[in-house]
Symmetry: C2
Subunit: 104 residues, 2 copies
């Protein structure tokens, strides 16, 4: 689903990744759990996700403080550790300020 | 492939879309052609793409002027028209300034 974000400005966290072939089920469960938890974080505005050879998840946030709080969330810290150690062959995370947007 | 972008700041265009079921081959050919053309545009830094139910394409650009020039490129204007009229059931385009990034 396309995220129903408010009028800019707001923030986007663009997370691009290549998976290892480890732990497909555990990874899927954790990814689902992270989306569920993100929805409960203050300042969360929405998330969009797709994966082929490359996985792209874009989450949207009210401000930088919301992004920092999510980065420090306890279960999320554990997911980040597993991501670095086991699940991702490579990734890049970019924090960007959305200045304008338009749709169909 | 994860785009090999330079040190921030630079710009990201986050294009999220839901396809109609029209013109699968024509659409695929045009999408490929647009990536090829984008690579030749001044200020183009890279592109990342994945599609499941949702399609996400993030293209990276040196500055706003590069994004504006790409938006006005002749073949791209025609692709945008076909996109609005035939290929996309819905889309959202967000222009964002990447402020920081990190990787594995």
């Amino acid at each position: 689903m396309i995220a129903d974000t408010p009028e800019p400005p707001y923030y986007a966290v663009i997370f691009t990744s290549v998976r290892t072939d480890l732990d497909a089920t555990e990874y899927g469960d954790m990814a689902e759990r992270m989306v569920e938890l993100a929805h409960r974080q203050p300042g969360f505005l929405g998330v969009e996700s797709a994966r082929e050879a490359l996985g792209i998840t874009v989450s949207y946030w009210r401000d930088e403080a919301s992004i920092k709080a999510w980065k420090q969330q306890a279960e999320h810290l554990e997911a980040q550790r597993l991501g670095r150690e086991r699940w991702y062959a490579d990734y890049r995370l970019r924090v960007a300020k959305v200045e304008r947007d338009y749709g169909l």
